[in-house]
Amino acid sequence: MNLLDKAFGISPAALMLRSQRSSVLAANIANADTPNYQARDYDFSATLRDAMQGTTSGLAATDEGHISLVDKNEVGTTMYRLPTKTKQNGNTVEEEIEQAAFSENAVQYQTSLQFLNGTIRGLRLAIKGE
């Protein structure tokens, strides 16, 4: 971990994860009418902890010949959401819950951005020495 990474702390990993989560939630909203579609989501705190420790919760590649199932740039695995009710067509997307989660995720993304902006401002101040 270099100096700049240390300065930024947890925010870049959180930002990455927030953007991935938003795409998973968008897929849920897009599939609100798809029969037998199962809504997914991340277990955010567990995934972020894994991301900070540099481990993934998926299968570990312990041999050079192993092919990784997960994209190197992606962290964590999604899990199926436990619905409070299922529709007749087997779909487990609950629009209101997904929309609430999406908008909450957007706010958290902006929070991480705000932290990053603050850090950048502080670093600039330190570099300029004003």
């Binding site: 795409s23 968008a26 897929a27 909203i29 009418d33 798809t34 029969p35 579609y37 999604t78």
Partner: protein, 139 residues
């Protein structure tokens, strides 16, 4: 592809699917008064069949990205017949066959499709907002 830029495509496929669904609903409502001379040729309400759109790269992890309409199903509701011997399309027994379109059902489907469309537009707007803020990072 994941992340915020991927959302445009996800929401885009959903907008496309929902607008096609609205198309079918409009077609059903427009044809609700169609009358034919036999049960086989009677107009039957069309329904979209949605399926998740899987991306090649994400097939391994089972991630879905978007939605598509794979096929179109016809409503299985009974075709009503009416005895109208004087009608020019009446069959040899004097019956005409009405479309099996249920207007109430079509209206509720329309409201649902419209709401799904709106939800996806909202998703797109929010992602755009977040992306613009990310671009302005450090300014």
């Amino acid at each position: 592809m994941s992340g915020l830029t991927g959302i445009y495509r996800i929401a885009g496929t959903a907008l496309n699917a929902q607008s096609r669904s609205l198309d079918m609903i409009a077609q059903n409502m427009a044809n609700s008064q169609v009358v034919t001379g036999s049960e086989e040729t009677a107009y039957r309400a069309k329904r979209p069949i949605f399926a998740p759109l899987l991306e090649q790269a994400s097939l391994a992890s089972g991630e879905t990205s978007g939605v598509q309409i794979t096929s179109m199903a016809e409503s299985q509701a009974n075709v009503e017949r009416q005895r109208m011997p004087e009608h020019p399309l009446a069959d040899s027994e004097g019956y005409i066959y009405l479309a099996n379109v249920n207007m109430v059902e079509e209206m509720t489907n329309m409201v649902q499709a419209t709401r799904s469309y709106q939800a996806n537009v909202e998703v797109m707007n929010t992602s755009k907002d977040l992306l613009m803020r990310t671009l302005a990072l450090g300014n």
